[in-house]
C-alpha cells in the first residue's frame, strides 16, 4: 500500500535503476566540524550577483520564441484549425497543430490515460491546441492570436461537489469518478461507543496554485538527432525519460540541463507538454526555441493542490484517549487522474494513536487543469481537519490541546501493514520543547485576558504533524573527484530547488574529507554529465543524497590513504586525511601533503564513487513537527494579524542551521497562504472558466503578511537507523501544521471555528457578524 502510494508521487513512471549496495556503511558522525553549522550557501554569490543562469535566462544564438495556443473553453471539441494566416505573419518560422504529422504523439496524462499531444477533445480551459515559433515572443503571440479555431463547445462541470450528480456533464465517457479508496482498522462503531465525547464536523480547503516565481518552460535545441533541453525542473532525469519516451528517442540522445531553477513546490517534477512542444517547434524550424509559459498559462495548465471536501467524526475519552476516527473526503485532480485525494487521509490514519479508524476518499473528474503534487500532497488539507478536530476535542474534555496530543503519541506506523516502528519519533519533543520555547501556557492565559479589552483580541493555536515520506532511499549515485592539489569536484544529478541541497552536499563532502567547503565545486542536474538521481521532491533529497555523497567521499579518501601509505610506508588503516594532509594517527610527525602523494601526482585525480544504500527493513523514516502561533484578530474588520510563529521540527540531524531556518520560515509562509489568502476560483455556473487569473486575484502572502517573528526550533535527533547522515526530510513537514495552527489560534481569539479556507477578512467578518447576532 505505502509502496504504491509513494510511487504516485516522486518516482511514478520513472524507470528506476537499482544501484549497487554502498558497501560497508559508515558509522554515524560523533563530532562534526562542518555539518550542522550555519553557513551561507555555496552558490549564494551566483544567486545574488545575477551570475546564476536559470533556464529562463538562457539565450542561444539564432534562438526563436515559442507560444502555445490554448483552448478558451472548459470543455470543447476542436473541429477545425486554420493556421494559414499565422504562417504568413512576420517573423513566424514554425507552426504545429493537431494536423501536423510530427505532432501526432501520445501524451501520457497518467499511467492509465493517454491522449494526443494536441487532442481534439479539450477537457479543460488551457488545453494545448497548437503552437508557434517566431523571431520574438511578441510575433509569436501575434501569430497565436491569428490562428482560427472552430470549437464545438460542450457542457462542463468545474465544481467537484457537483461532479457526481446525475445531471453533471461527463468529463470522460467512462463517467466522472476516478476512484474511491477506503481504509479501515479496528471497529469504528465500537470506538464511538467507548468515547465520552463524540464530535463531527465538515471541513473544506480550497484549491491552491503553486505559482513558483520562475515560469514553467524550457529552451530546446537540436544538433542533428541529439536534443538538448534547458528546463526549469526538479528532476532532469525524469524530464529526460518523459521526453525520450514521447518522442521515441534513446535516452542518451536527450540531454536535460537544469543547473538552477526558480521554485516548483512539486509542479516541476516532470516534463510538461510545453517541453515536447518546444522540441517539435525547434526541429521544425531548425533553430533553438525558448518556450516559457505566461503566468496565466501556468494557472490553467501547470498543476494545483486539489480542493478537499472533508468530514471527520472523532471520539475521545475524558482522559484524552482517542477511541475512533471516521473520515471521508471528496477531491479532484481535474480533468485527468492526478491524485485528487492523494494522502488527504494519511494524518487521520497515522499521526495519533487510535485503534479504530475508517477513511473513504473519492476522487472525481472536473473540467479543470490537472493537479500536480504540491508540497506535502494531501497533508495540509488533512491537517486542517484533524488538528482543528483535536483542538475541539481538547476543549470538550477540558484538556490543554498540547496535552491531548502528548497523550496519543505513536511509536509505530499504525496505518502501514505490520505496524513497523519509526526509526525516530520526535513528536513528543516537538510538542513539549515547542510549547516551552513558545511560552504556550502563559500565552494562553494572556490571550484569554486580552479578550475582555476592545476589538483587538489575541489568540494562540498549535498543531502537530508528520510527513508520510521523508526518509529518501536508493537509487542515487555520486562521484567525487579529488584533484592532485586537494581540491574536490562533486558530481551529482540532483537539482537544488532552493532548499540548499548543493550547500548541504558540499558540507558533507567537506566533513568527510577534512577540507573546507570552499574547496569543493559542484556539478549537478545535467543528464549529460552528472550521475543518476531521482527528482528533488518528497523531502527526500538530503536523506537520499547526503549518505551517497558521504559514501563517495569515503571511497575517495580510502584510495588517497592507500596511495599515501605507499609513500609513508605505513598501514593505510593508521592514516587520517585532515586539512589537505595525510597524517599517521599514531605518530603525527609522519605526514604527507596531499600535493606530494606520488601516485596521485602521477594519476592527476582520484575518482570516488558512492551509492545510496537501502533503508532499514521494517522501519519507517518520517519527520515530525509541531507549530505554535499567536494571532491578533480585529473583530470590527475580520483582519487577522500574525504576531509570531514557532516551528519545532524533528527532521533528524540538522545539516545546515541557516538553510534549515530558511525552510521553516518558508514553509510557514506558504502555510499562511493555504490558510488565509489563496483560492483558485472557477466560474462554476456561467462559463466554467478560471476567474483568479493573476497574482492580483490569486493572492500570495506578501511581505506585509509575514508574521512579526518566526522562530525555528530544531528538535535534533541524529537518526542513526535511517541513514549514514542521520537526516530526515524537512521541506514538506514545515508547511503541514501551519494552516490548522492559525485556525486554532483564530478560534482561541474569537470562539469561531473557521472550517473553510481561506480565513480572510470577508469570511471572518461575516462569521463575526453572525456570532454577534446570536449574541
Amino acid at each position: 500500500m505505502e509502496k504504491s502510494r509513494e510511487g504516485t508521487y516522486y518516482a511514478q513512471g520513472s524507470p528506476v535503476p537499482e544501484t549497487p549496495s554502498s558497501g560497508a556503511g559508515s558509522a554515524p558522525w560523533k563530532k562534526t566540524r562542518v555539518v550542522g553549522t550555519a553557513r551561507p550557501r555555496v552558490d549564494a554569490y551566483e544567486r545574488v550577483s545575477g551570475a546564476a543562469l536559470y533556464p529562463s535566462d538562457i539565450v542561444l544564438p539564432d534562438m526563436l520564441y515559442g507560444a502555445i495556443l490554448r483552448c478558451p473553453h472548459p470543455h470543447a471539441l476542436v473541429k477545425r484549425v486554420d493556421a494559414e494566416e499565422a504562417l504568413r505573419m512576420p517573423g513566424v518560422r514554425a507552426v504545429v497543430t493537431g494536423s501536423s504529422p510530427e505532432a501526432k504523439l501520445a501524451w501520457p496524462y497518467s499511467q492509465e490515460v493517454s491522449t494526443l499531444l494536441f487532442d481534439p477533445h479539450c477537457r479543460f480551459e488551457g488545453e494545448a491546441v497548437g503552437a508557434v515559433a517566431a523571431e520574438t515572443p511578441y510575433q509569436a503571440w501575434d501569430a497565436v492570436r491569428a490562428i482560427r479555431v472552430e470549437y464545438e463547445v460542450l457542457p462542463f462541470v468545474v465544481d467537484e461537489r457537483r461532479s457526481m450528480e446525475a445531471s453533471a456533464p461527463r468529463v470522460h465517457e467512462s463517467g466522472n469518478r476516478v476512484k474511491r479508496e477506503s481504509y479501515e482498522r479496528g471497529n469504528v462503531e465500537r470506538g464511538f461507543a467507548e468515547a465520552d465525547v463524540v464530535l463531527e464536523q465538515a471541513y473544506r480547503s480550497e484549491c491552491e496554485l503553486h505559482t513558483p516565481m520562475e515560469l514553467h518552460g524550457c529552451v530546446a535545441r537540436w544538433d542533428g538527432d541529439r536534443l538538448t533541453i534547458w528546463e526549469s525542473t526538479q528532476g532532469v532525469y525524469r524530464v529526460q525519460e518523459r521526453v525520450a519516451s514521447v518522442l521515441g528517442m534513446p535516452l542518451a540522445k536527450v540531454r536535460v540541463i537544469g543547473h538552477y531553477m526558480g521554485g516548483a513546490f512539486g509542479s516541476k517534477l516532470q516534463a510538461g507538454k510545453y517541453t515536447v512542444i518546444a522540441a517539435l517547434l525547434a526541429r521544425k524550424a531548425g533553430r533553438p526555441v525558448k518556450l516559457f509559459l505566461t503566468r496565466e498559462e501556468t494557472y490553467l495548465a501547470a498543476g494545483n493542490r486539489p480542493p478537499s471536501n472533508m468530514r471527520l467524526k472523532a471520539g475521545v475519552k475524558n482522559d484524552g484517549t482517542l477511541t475512533a476516527f471516521d473520515f471521508s473526503c471528496t477531491g479532484t485532480g481535474g480533468a485527468y487522474p492526478a491524485g485528487g485525494v492523494a494522502l488527504v487521509d494519511w494524518l487521520v490514519r497515522d499521526l495519533y494513536t487510535c485503534p479504530n479508524v475508517r477513511t473513504e476518499c473519492t476522487d472525481v473528474y472536473i473540467n479543470a487543469g490537472p493537479a500536480r503534487p504540491f508540497r506535502a500532497p494531501g497533508h495540509p488539507q488533512g491537517s486542517w481537519a484533524l488538528e482543528q478536530m483535536l483542538d475541539a476535542l481538547a476543549e470538550a474534555i477540558g484538556m490543554d490541546p498540547v496535552d491531548l496530543r502528548l497523550k496519543n503519541i505513536p511509536t509505530q506506523s499504525q496505518a502501514r501493514a505490520g505496524n513497523p516502528r519509526y526509526t525516530t519519533t520526535g513528536l513528543r519533543q516537538c510538542l513539549e520543547e515547542g510549547a516551552r520555547a513558545f511560552g504556550w501556557k502563559e500565552a494562553r492565559r494572556q490571550s484569554a485576558a486580552s479578550r475582555t479589552r476592545g476589538h483587538l483580541v489575541r489568540g494562540v493555536g498549535m498543531a502537530g504533524g508528520l510527513w508520510f515520506a521523508g526518509g529518501g532511499g536508493p537509487p542515487s549515485t555520486v562521484i567525487i573527484r579529488l584533484f592532485a592539489d586537494g581540491s574536490v569536484n562533486l558530481n551529482m544529478g540532483a537539482s537544488d530547488i532552493g532548499t540548499g541541497t548543493k550547500t548541504v552536499m558540499a558540507m558533507v563532502a567537506a566533513e568527510e574529507l577534512g577540507v573546507e567547503p570552499e574547496m569543493i565545486e559542484i556539478e549537478n542536474a545535467d543528464t549529460g554529465t552528472t550521475q543518476y538521481a531521482t527528482a528533488s521532491g518528497g523531502s527526500k533529497t538530503v536523506p537520499t543524497e547526503a549518505p551517497t555523497v558521504r559514501a563517495a567521499a569515503v571511497d575517495a579518501k580510502g584510495q588517497l590513504l592507500a596511495m599515501a601509505a605507499e609513500d609513508l610506508r605505513l598501514d593505510s588503516r593508521d592514516l587520517l586525511f585532515e586539512g589537505g594532509t595525510v597524517v599517521s594517527a599514531r605518530d603525527p610527525s609522519k605526514r604527507i601533503k596531499v600535493t606530494e602523494v606520488s601516485a596521485l601526482k602521477k594519476r592527476g585525480v582520484i575518482v570516488g564513487v558512492g551509492y545510496r544504500g537501502p533503508n532499514p527493513e521494517n522501519r519507517v523514516v518520517n519527520p515530525f513537527a509541531a507549530q505554535f502561533c499567536e494571532v491578533e484578530v480585529n473583530t470590527r474588520t475580520g483582519e487577522v494579524k500574525l504576531i509570531r510563529f514557532l516551528g519545532a521540527h524533528d527532521s533528524g540531524r540538522v545539516m545546515n542551521r541557516l538553510t534549515y531556518e530558511s525552510q521553516v520560515i518558508g514553509g510557514i509562509t506558504m502555510g499562511i497562504g493555504f490558510a488565509m489568502t489563496e483560492v483558485r476560483v472557477l466560474d462554476r455556473s456561467q462559463t466554467g472558466k478560471l476567474v483568479s487569473r493573476s497574482w492580483h486575484d490569486y493572492k500570495l502572502p506578501t511581505a506585509l503578511d509575514a508574521p512579526g517573528e518566526v522562530v525555528s526550533l530544531p528538535i535534533e535527533i541524529d537518526d542513526v537507523e535511517a541513514n549514514s547522515a542521520g537526516a530526515k526530510g524537512l521541506g514538506e513537514p514545515v508547511t503541514i501544521p501551519t494552516g490548522a495552527a492559525i485556525a486554532n489560534a483564530v478560534y482561541d481569539a474569537t470562539g469561531i471555528r473557521v472550517t473553510e479556507t481561506p480565513i480572510d477578512p470577508m469570511r471572518l467578518s461575516r462569521l463575526l457578524a453572525g456570532k454577534r447576532k446570536e449574541g
Partner: protein, 212 residues
C-alpha cells in the same frame, strides 16, 4: 525635498511605482508608441497622430548601469524584454509580465520600477540600474552581501528584484525602520517565503552601506 515627500515615495506601493503611477506612465508610453518619428515626446500628442505598425523598429539609446546601448526596438517592447533577451542582462527576472510580482524590478533614476510595465522607449533618457549594476566589478554590493549573509532567499529567482527594491529604499532611507522595510519590499513576491530573512538582510545591508 521634505521628509514627508520621501515617505510618500517609499511607502506607496514599493518605492514609487504605484498602480496609479503606472497607469499614468502607460498612457505616456502608449502615446509615445503611436509617434511615427521620434519616440517619447515630452507631451502626449493628439489622437490624430499617425499609427506606427507594431513591427516597425525605431532607434533607441538606453543608459543602463552607466553605459549607453544603442539598439533598434519595436515600440511595444518592454524594458524587461530588451534587458533580458536583447542585451543579455538576465539578472532582471521575469515572473508575470503584468506588474504583480516585482521579479523584474530595476531602478529608473533611483526609483524602483517594474521593467515589465515599462516600455523600453519610456526608459530613454533615464538612468537604469539593474542587479548587475549593483556589483563593484566581481565584488558584491552591500545589499547583495546582506542577502548572502542572512540567507534571504531560497530558489533565488525573486531575489534580484528584492535586492533592487531594497537598494531603492536605502537610497532614500538609509536608516529604514522595520515597517519601512516591509513596505519597501511589499511589491516583490517571494513564493519560497523568505520574507523574514529578507527583512534581516535589509537591516544588514543598511549597516554595510553606512560603512562604505
Amino acid at each position: 525635498m521634505k521628509e514627508d515627500d520621501a515617505d510618500d515615495k517609499t511607502c506607496k506601493g514599493k518605492g514609487g511605482m504605484t498602480r496609479r503611477g503606472f497607469l499614468g506612465s502607460l498612457g505616456l508610453g502608449a502615446a509615445a508608441a503611436t509617434l511615427s518619428g521620434k519616440l517619447l515626446s515630452p507631451t502626449p500628442t493628439s489622437a490624430a497622430t499617425q499609427v506606427m505598425p507594431a513591427q516597425e523598429t525605431t532607434k533607441l539609446a538606453l543608459r543602463i548601469n552607466g553605459r549607453t546601448h544603442r539598439l533598434l526596438v519595436e515600440p511595444r517592447w518592454s524594458l524587461l524584454y530588451v534587458l533580458r533577451e536583447r542585451l543579455g542582462l538576465s539578472g532582471t527576472k521575469v515572473g508575470c509580465e503584468r506588474g504583480e510580482c516585482g521579479a523584474c524590478t530595476v531602478l529608473v533614476n533611483d526609483v524602483p520600477r517594474y521593467a515589465c510595465l515599462t516600455l523600453a522607449a519610456e526608459a530613454e533618457g533615464a538612468e537604469v540600474t539593474t542587479l548587475e549594476g549593483l556589483m563593484d566589478g566581481e565584488k558584491l554590493g552591500p545589499v547583495q552581501q546582506g542577502f548572502l549573509e542572512q540567507d534571504a532567499f531560497q530558489c533565488g529567482y525573486c531575489t534580484p528584484g528584492q535586492i533592487v527594491a531594497v537598494e531603492g529604499l536605502l537610497r532614500v532611507k538609509p536608516h529604514p525602520s522595520p515597517e519601512e522595510i516591509r513596505r519597501g519590499v511589499s511589491g516583490n513576491l517571494c513564493r519560497c517565503g523568505a520574507y523574514n530573512h529578507i527583512f534581516q538582510a535589509a537591516l544588514r545591508a543598511a549597516e554595510l552601506r553606512r560603512r562604505m
